[in-house]
């Protein structure tokens, strides 16, 4: 098998090369390692959360090549050659992303546990649809759950960010 080498009889290692928040990462992973564990435990970025663990809640949302995935159910080797964005990589040169600013300004979070996933999912939405209707927003975001049930403020925050981002571009 071209892509893997064997370290010992029971360990298979897959060379992994990808960019994380714009920086190249290169190391080996075992086939069963999950992207969530690699990002949280090995790379120390804990914005991404483990919660439902079955792709329902969205707390583990990361963007892979700009599209939202559940890191809890993504095998780490799948990001070979791809670009991964976590909430830690969203601000640029110390300046918060308009979505982050809007969540602060409009009170788009209470406990904050769902927020990294909410903001990343919203970024994916606005990148493909800069001017969503509220119905489009709800359809896209319905897989991100807020257990504080602060949905109204979350929707307001995303709509406000969308408006701001449109006026800038």
């Amino acid at each position: 098998m071209a892509t893997a080498m064997m370290k010992s009889s029971d360990t298979q290692l897959i060379p992994l090369s990808f960019t994380l928040n714009g920086r190249l990462q290169e190391f080996d992973v075992e086939p069963h390692e999950l992207l969530l564990d690699v990002v949280r435990e090995r790379l120390g970025l804990t914005g991404v959360k483990r919660s439902c663990d079955v792709q329902v809640c969205g707390a583990c949302t990361l963007l892979v090549d700009g599209r939202p995935v559940s890191a809890c159910t993504t095998l780490a080797f799948e990001v070979r050659g791809r670009s991964v964005l976590t909430i830690e990589g969203l601000a640029e040169n110390g300046k918060l992303h308009p979505l982050q600013e809007a969540f602060i300004e409009h009170g788009g979070f209470q406990c904050g546990f769902c927020t990294p996933g909410m903001i990343l999912a919203a970024k994916a939405l606005l990148d493909e649809n800069p001017n969503p209707t509220e119905a489009e927003l709800k359809h896209f975001m319905h897989g991100n759950i807020c257990r504080c049930t602060g949905y109204k403020k979350i929707i307001e925050s995303i709509m406000a960010a969308a408006k701001k981002m449109r006026s800038k571009s």
């Binding site: 098998m1 086939p31 069963h32 329902v56 969205g58 939202p68 995935v69 159910t73």
Partner: protein, 282 residues
């Protein structure tokens, strides 16, 4: 937690089939992983090997060829919801794909994986059955066609052999007279009932096909209800819909589970049939 497994990454269908044949039940095909990995994390199933199909070429395209729409088994739900060809030819499938699970599942999950995992509470198999789809199963020595109605055997069980790979789903290209709709209803993450209706409007309803999914262990055609609507005018069909819906409910082999009691699901089948008819006829 996932237990350790070994990863195989074949580059041809023949190679994949050979690996599956060699390792039998200890190996499993892996594509999007949206359902398989959940079952593995829960410890419900465990495999020594996963056979990643995503290096196989040509299995992630949608094309129109020889009177059929051919959908590669590795197409993700996200790809299908955005396919211009599907939107034009099979809008009911487009709408279904836009509403599979959530945006992250649609990003990773493949149509082929959805069908092969045969989770009872899934959407696509039901509509594909009503659309008269065929599944193409390939192995090292050749390939065969399996009618959608023969594909699903039971919950989590298909008629694929251990060394067969689902490579393509073929749906007859609809004519200008074809009408179809898929509707679902549920209150949990997965649907309680899904219903697909397809017919040709040709001096009345012709070739009526109704399939019900999620209610029982596997999607199934409900021929008792189909025959009640066959050949009827639009007006006659509308009058008879309540009886046809009740017949469809009885024939759906609904079972009581977390998604609803048997009689509740049977009732929902009838409601969905009425709505699907309105949606299909426009």
């Amino acid at each position: 937690m996932l237990r350790r497994f070994r990863l195989e990454e074949p580059e041809t269908v023949a190679e994949a089939s050979e690996i599956l044949g060699r390792f039998g039940e200890s190996a499993k095909i892996y594509a999007g992983g949206t359902e398989l990995l959940l079952a593995m994390k829960e410890g419900l199933v465990q495999y020594e090997r996963l056979v990643n199909l995503k290096k196989l070429k040509g299995l992630n395209e949608v094309a129109q060829e020889g009177g059929e729409i051919r959908i590669g088994a590795l197409c993700t739900h996200h790809q299908l919801e955005g396919s211009v060809l599907l939107q034009k030819q099979l809008p009911a499938l487009t709408k279904l794909e836009q509403n599979v699970a959530n945006v992250r599942v649609r990003q990773a999950g493949t149509l082929g994986g959805n069908l092969c995992f045969a989770e009872p509470h899934a959407d696509p198999g039901t509509l594909l059955m009503a659309l008269g789809a065929k599944m193409i199963a390939a192995k090292s020595t050749g390939q065969r066609e399996i009618a959608a109605a023969e594909f699903f055997v039971d919950a989590y069980e298909t008629s694929l052999q251990t060394d067969e790979v689902l490579t393509e789903i073929r749906v007859p290209t609809p004519s200008a007279k074809s009408r179809s709709a898929y509707l679902k209803f549920g209150y949990l993450e997965r649907p309680s009932v899904g219903l697909a209706l397809a017919f040709n409007l040709n001096g009345g309803l012709r070739d009526v096909r109704i399939a019900v999914g999620c209610a029982g262990p596997a999607p199934r055609r409900v021929e008792e209800a189909e025959s009640m609507l066959e050949g009827k005018s639009r007006e006659e069909a509308e009058r008879i819909l309540p009886q046809a819906g009740a017949a469809a409910g009885r024939a759906s082999q609904a079972i009581s589970d977390l998604h609803g009691a048997q009689d509740y699901k049977e009732h929902i089948v009838g409601v969905l049939l009425k709505r699907a008819f309105q949606s299909a006829i426009g």
